[in-house]
Subunit: 401 residues, 2 copies
């Protein structure tokens, strides 16, 4: 059999992003801030007020006018707690002020209480030199009314939602949840809880991807394990016409029993990619009656790696997310690598004393490796490594959310 050329990971990545951009999931819904966690912002968030709305004290202390500081103690003409509206500062006096309280009109600096002396007659002595505007958080220092604070395509996490709250916002326009139909192929697969017959194994990909898709804010249509019957398979696929993506696991490649692949080949576009990636060589991208399909390999560690590096960015980009690449870090290898490969290898690793150490068994059939690891180490094609060489480390936390 002839060997077709391998496709580089970057090329597959770029191609998937292009496909995603041609087919954005553009529908918008408005959700309450408390329910917006993990969703993707559909319109720019524009500040409707200055933040902070007025100059306020960064410290507990005294607000005063610089020109009044001539070395003589000042009387305290008012006390300003956070949440209060102060009177303009009386000339020749200071104001007791607490963190977050508005700086009164006329005051142009705040001195820390630790640097002052409260005299018995109630006046306050300032002994240290003062700078104009010191310890004052200026109005609009964080943002000005009318400025864009979050762009379209921002994923909403705690900080983004907190920022929206600080602008007084109670609901946000977000992209609707992508509807992902999840299905598994493989006559050997049995749903957990059922008895295991000879030659059968339990389906782990469904559980793995279901929990992951939920983390990504998807609405999952569970299409189960495809039956090895063309008619039943067609009927099952018909039910998925509303999906934004059909995500499957298990070979759509050369297996003779591959009823799913055959139907896909008959019904429309289907590209079989031989990726220069290990684990996870075969990735199929296609379409069934208009619905995009990504078919991941069936080995759980392979489906995990290809989902993390390719299907996840694709899905996020369909929602308009720009930052779809995980952060990666250069770390010293705590291992040597003597077998240069034709494919880019992703190895299950942990960071120990700043070095990447490998899990003992990197077989793609093994999921224990992924539960042990806290990251993936990337080994470039045709490369050997000595211990201590710098390698790229992708924390799993960067792809899991």
């Amino acid at each position: 059999m002839k060997k077709s050329a391998l496709i580089a990971v970057e090329a597959a990545f770029e191609c998937l992003l292009q496909l995603a951009e041609k087919e954005p999931i553009g529908d918008v819904e408005r959700v309450a801030l408390d329910d917006a966690e993990g969703r993707v912002l559909a319109e720019p968030l524009i500040a409707s007020l200055d933040l902070p709305p007025w100059p306020n004290s960064a410290m507990d202390g005294y607000a005063l006018r610089l020109v009044d500081w001539i070395g003589e103690p000042l009387a305290v003409s008012q006390t300003i707690f956070a949440g209060q509206a102060p009177e303009p500062l009386q000339s020749g006096t200071c104001a007791r002020i607490f963190t977050g309280a508005p700086v009164p009109k006329g005051a142009d600096c705040v001195e820390l209480q630790e640097n002052t002396e409260l005299l018995e007659d109630g006046r306050v002595r300032f002994s240290q030199a003062l700078r104009p505007r010191q310890n004052i958080r200026e109005q609009g220092q964080e943002t000005r009314c009318g400025e864009t604070v979050l762009v379209v395509g921002t994923r909403l996490g705690p900080a983004q939602l907190g920022l929206a709250a600080s602008l007084g916002i109670v609901e946000l326009p977000v992209r609707r949840r992508p509807r992902v139909a999840l299905l598994s192929t493989g006559d050997e697969l049995v749903r957990p809880g059922q008895p295991l017959g000879p030659g059968q194994i339990y389906n782990s990909n469904r559980t793995l991807l279901l929990s992951w898709l939920k983390r990504l804010g998807c609405s999952v249509l569970d299409a189960g394990i495809l039956p090895d019957d063309p008619q039943l398979t067609r009927a099952r696929l018909e039910e998925l016409a509303e999906a934004d993506l059909i995500l499957s696991t298990g070979g759509v490649s050369v297996g003779e029993a591959d009823c799913f692949g055959q139907i896909l080949r008959e019904e429309g576009e289907l590209a079989l990619w031989k990726l220069a990636i290990k684990p996870g060589k075969p990735l199929t991208v296609g379409r069934y009656r208009g619905v995009p399909i990504i078919a991941l390999p069936g080995n759980p560690a392979s489906s995990l790696v290809t989902f993390a590096l390719l299907a996840r960015p694709y899905l996020l980009r369909r929602l308009g997310v720009r930052a779809v690449m995980p952060l990666a870090f250069q770390v010293p290898a705590g291992f040597a690598w003597s077998k240069p490969g034709k494919r880019r290898e992703y190895l299950w690793a942990r960071l120990e004393n700043g070095r990447a150490v490998l899990y003992s068994n990197q077989s793609p059939g093994v999921l224990l490796s992924a539960t042990w690891a806290d990251g993936l180490v990337e080994v470039i094609e045709d490369t050997t490594l000595a211990e201590g060489d710098s390698v790229r480390f992708i924390p799993l936390s960067e792809v899991l959310g």
Copy 2:
């Protein structure tokens, strides 16, 4: 006023973990695998079967007996698809076999189909040298029946749940969700959606921490903004007797209007820590009628940093999680740092071309910094940095989940 000594971040961290270990949230509940995402395993997960359950083929190809390979083509005596139970291999023949299918009794190696030639008479010619057990995934290679595959305290993500599924498991014993009562103090605070009076700001901490606590699998009691009234505050606190933790934001320190702090001081233990950390100096740890309290500072960026580095590990350790420290990486600083501080500084940063660059405004009142950043850079006490110096970078993804 006298200055008390600063507490190092490590010391506060260790102290909080010790407090957490004295008060584990030990209650166990059984949840379906599909609902176990983000939960913490309460009992070790022990393999109830070998994985894989039988030797299987790692490739599409032919299974044969090494001794039968004498250069002569072999007849194909059976075809074994994944999911099928094979017959023992007939002596002097080979079996067509697909990836994941059980290797038939008697066969001791699998040859890739690419390395074979199918003759017109249906026999298969093997021309390359063969090694015993090649392309066979051995029974129990991933794990053996009876082995512990996940320890108590494991957080359950996609890989862990996938592994449980591969063992046929449908539900898991997990720690119950921690009940966290979330409250804000500060007379300047207004709930988003309400009109903003003079001197008032919107409460961002509630939204920020609510979404974060949900990500951590907590059940949140929303206790709102505490009124500045001792009786009402007491009444509100009485309602939180069932909480595992009261998490508050806003000064419990020196403010004269600090009704919450005063009640806590009257009712029980209260430790005010001056942490050597910036942002986030004041952290209060205490107890109200037996319920543990962590009082974070009120500035949103300060509450974010102290929650990430101190309260989050505390909460996870209460559930028995061992790995509570975020991964951190050494990266070159894309900035210079000329102001050595008495406190450890955490700076909002992004990774650009492998270097950490800083957000322009590091003020603790500013939350925009946190929405911009993808990590925190740690600057050790009494340190200056030149551009290119190595600094510790904590990806936000490591603390957000």
